[in-house]
């Protein structure tokens, strides 16, 4: 499987959908273009899926409500996803699985829980970029792994972060949680973490003997 990360998001289909929506209003159209160029996120628009959505269908981020991250924010988000969950021998990185699209879908959603996360994630991206500029005078996405790690190490644990980094650590924590949720729900992520279910079986035989043995139940 090809885990391309170089495609600018949103994908073509989503972009066309946006354009169709936006074409109803030139004001909207220009604000869409502005948002894509600027470093600021577009406002949340659209409505939820209602209380009777089609359940047997695969939904893509951007399909039910417009995504709102600017191009620059998406690049930062993808880079941060790749640092938090990088590729290893078992599975690809969160960025390769487009988890940043899920994060964009999440913070662009017209629902209250997600609306609470939105300022945290936007602030997190802003802080990461500002910190990259402050320390290395470059965008976060083009820093070396060592440079990225130097920043993330300071904010990866609220409990041990020095006072100047406590607030940023809270933002990073929320970003990491969303990255994990996005990653471990993908087919690759489910396999990585050890979920082997969701397939019909002729019988349920309980835990295998090696499990029972390990637990002292045999």
């Amino acid at each position: 499987m090809n885990y391309s990360t170089d495609l600018p998001r949103p994908d073509r289909r989503t972009a066309i959908k946006w354009m169709l929506t936006a074409s109803a209003s030139t004001t909207l159209l220009s604000s869409f273009a502005d948002a894509a160029r600027s470093t600021e996120a577009a406002p949340v628009t659209g409505s939820g899926y209602g209380t009777d959505p089609r359940l047997q269908k695969t939904y893509q981020p951007g399909e039910l409500w417009p995504l709102t991250l600017s191009d620059a924010q998406r690049v930062t988000a993808a880079a941060l996803c790749a640092v938090i969950i990088p590729a290893d021998a078992t599975s690809p990185s969160a960025a390769q699985l487009h988890v940043h699209d899920f994060i964009d879908e999440w913070i662009s959603a017209p629902y209250p829980t997600q609306a609470l996360d939105r300022p945290l994630i936007l602030e997190c991206l802003k802080w990461i970029e500002a910190e990259a500029q402050r320390r290395f005078s470059r965008n976060f996405s083009i820093l070396t792994d060592r440079e990225k790690t130097a920043i993330c190490d300071d904010v990866c644990f609220v409990k041990t972060a020095t006072p100047e980094f406590t607030d940023a650590a809270k933002l990073f924590t929320r970003f990491r949680d969303l990255t994990a949720g996005g990653f471990y729900t993908t087919p690759e992520g489910m396999k990585d973490i050890g979920y082997t279910g969701n397939m019909p079986l002729a019988s349920f035989d309980g835990p295998p003997p090696e499990v029972l043995k390990k637990l002292g139940l045999l």
């Binding site: 209380t51 949680d177 729900t185 499990v211 390990k214 637990l215």
Partner: protein, 600 residues
């Protein structure tokens, strides 16, 4: 007779049943299979689990990875249609703004109602549970005993299929031989809890759930359930042959397209329809019982949600099975100059003594469950084990500071990841990210266990519902206003639940994710949140102390019955659905007999 897509009802029926869930499904099943002509009204849309259930869809395919939203409060793939804690355009209100005194009300708007998504936990009330007042002087006794209901528990269990074992424990009744389906083997974490629960005296046994662990023996069961009724037997044998056994995958809360678990739409309604004696009208919101000049019920007024027109249907007998609170709402909205306080309310008790189940949750992490060899733990789409209430004697001897018991449900194992998987792991990982974080997640996944205490609430004077004096729903129907208050029996019980959860987690060598709350009021979850609301039309021995007699027949209107949880006099810790069905069958048998005798 059939699902009325034409929306043309017959001029008159023997019985109108309002509601299509556990109560309505069982009532319509029993009546139609025994020859009565029945019309069922369902407020929600038609719903077909065979074609609509998202069986193998993953969270990856859902918006927001399936996370809960106000539109789908149990997650995207939950079966609920048209509802949740809020139904658009159909509000309810709370009298108090105190957070401790709120009641929240889960509804759905779909054929089969909440049976489509329920947890399938199917526990019998025990002998104590029908005589709680006699045992501790609190609440009320039922006008019936366990022995009156036991034959109907047998019948319901045989009809719907319930897995479990007979453990012979106090007030936790056995089923007769051959009634239960084989219990699935316990998962690793369930077995581990079972072993280590013994250290603290906590008995963990196989739970009873309405899931087929093997196919039903139609010919044998049909002969037992409908003796001397060959037509009903034929229909039931066919319906049972169409149900598959569980294939040990997918969450029961989504519903079941292979009809392996019980939901009204896959178990009650297909044979009832096939009997030729049932019409079902969906999108029909019943709101008022019609009366003649003698005070007898003649039918039901409903809103046709498709045309928005007000319509009426007629029958010899009306059965309310719309859920306890919705049936109460109909009685109160059926007020007239002759019944200024609502119908069947000469006692003034309609809406009084509403109860939910007490709930308190606490989880933890168990190092012994880390890094277990990979294996599939999906199982029966829900729990395989639980701890029934085990302190009856201590409680009876006055050693506890709360009067009624609870059971402990719990979940373990590697379950399908969701949007929260991997969240809030810093206390274990020390804030790791990167490759080390991925390694830690492999280690910890499946090592968490979550306990939920589910206990008995004693009915009290401060928990009731009434019509809101001003608020109406989008159909113009007055809505319910809830009053709610837990007593110390419930809040102390909730505290005990959390303490027991910590004790079992520690007995398993684990660490609880939080300390138990010092004040039970902080431990107990909001009223209504367990979705076990019952009461409001309690049954009793006389018109002055109750709304119905032991048959769910209203004292004031003899041809008006209630078969949902409204008639519950107490709300044992045992989940109410199985008892609702058993009582609905018992009422239906009585109703048929009275019809035959010409009394109705």
């Amino acid at each position: 007779m059939a699902l009325l897509t034409s929306r043309k009802t017959q001029p008159k029926y023997d019985v109108i049943v309002v509601g299509s869930g556990a109560a309505g499904g069982q009532t319509a099943y029993t009546l139609a299979m025994e020859g009565a002509k029945v019309l069922m009204l369902e407020a929600g849309r038609n719903y077909d689990p065979v074609t609509e259930t998202p069986m193998f869809e993953t969270n990856h395919q859902a918006p927001l990875r399936g996370a809960v939203t106000p539109d789908k409060p149990f997650g995207f793939h939950d079966a609920t249609v048209g509802g949740g804690w809020e139904v658009p355009g159909e509000p309810y209100t709370n009298a108090s703004t105190d957070p401790q005194r709120q009641f929240i009300w889960w509804r759905s708007r779909m054929l089969g109602g909440r049976t489509n998504h329920w947890g399938r936990i199917a526990l019998r009330n025990g002998p104590y549970d029908f005589k709680p007042y006699s045992r501790d002087g609190l609440g009320f006794d039922w006008p019936i005993s366990y022995d009156d209901v036991a034959p109907y528990y047998d019948k319901v269990e045989m009809l719907i299929g319930v897995y479990g074992t007979n453990e012979g424990m106090e007030n936790t009744p056995n089923s007769p031989d051959g009634v239960l389906q084989p219990a699935p083997k316990l998962r690793a974490g369930e077995q581990y809890a079972q072993k280590h629960g013994k250290k603290i005296g906590l008995p963990i046994i196989p739970i009873h759930r309405a899931v087929l662990s093997q196919r039903l023996d139609g010919p044998k069961l049909a002969a037992k359930l409908h003796p001397k009724n060959l037509a009903a037997q034929r229909v039931l044998i066919q319906a049972m042959s169409e149900r598959a056994a569980c294939f040990w995958a997918t969450d029961c809360g989504r519903g079941c397209s292979i009809r392996a678990n019980y939901q009204s739409t896959t178990v009650h309604l297909p044979p009832a329809l096939a009997s030729g004696n049932l019409d079902i009208l969906t999108d029909a919101m019943g709101y008022r019982v019609l009366l003649d000049e003698h005070g007898k019920a003649t039918g039901v007024a409903y809103i046709d949600r498709q045309s928005r027109a007000e319509k009426e249907v007629y029958a010899r007998i009306v059965v309310l099975a719309a859920s306890s609170a919705e049936s109460v709402r109909m009685l109160l909205n059926s007020k007239s100059p002759r019944h200024p306080n609502g119908l069947a309310n000469s006692s003034g008790l309609v809406g009084k003594y509403i109860m939910d189940t007490v709930g308190a949750d606490l989880g933890g992490q168990i190092p012994a469950l880390e890094n277990l060899p990979l294996h599939n733990e999906d199982g029966a789409g829900g729990s395989h084990a639980y701890a029934p209430w085990w302190l009856y004697q201590e409680q009876h001897a006055g050693k506890l500071n709360f009067a009624r018991g609870y059971h402990l449900e719990f979940g373990t194992g590697r379950r399908m990841p969701n949007a929260r998987t991997g969240s809030r792991m810093e206390y274990l990982t020390g804030g790791k990210y990167g490759v080390g974080y991925k390694e830690d997640m492999r280690r910890y996944f499946g090592s968490f266990v979550g306990f939920s205490g589910r206990g008995e609430m004693i009915p009290n004077e401060n928990s009731f519902c009434e019509l809101d004096p001003t608020v109406k729903d989008k159909w113009g129907i007055p809505v319910l206003r809830f009053h709610w208050k837990w007593s110390e029996h419930e809040t102390r019980q909730a505290k005990h639940m959390q303490e027991t959860s910590v004790a079992i987690i520690e007995a398993m060598g684990g660490t609880a994710s939080a300390q138990p709350k010092k004040d039970g009021r902080d431990a107990i979850i909001t009223g209504g949140m367990v979705i076990h609301e019952v009461g409001g039309a309690i049954m009793g021995t006389a018109p002055r102390n109750s709304v119905t007699n032991q048959w769910g027949q209203t004292w004031d209107v003899p041809n008006l019955f209630i078969t949902d949880g409204g008639t519950f006099v107490s709300n044992a810790d045992k989940n109410p659905t199985l008892t609702i069905m058993a009582l609905a069958w018992r009422t239906s048998d009585y109703l048929l007999e009275e019809m035959r005798k010409g009394n109705l």
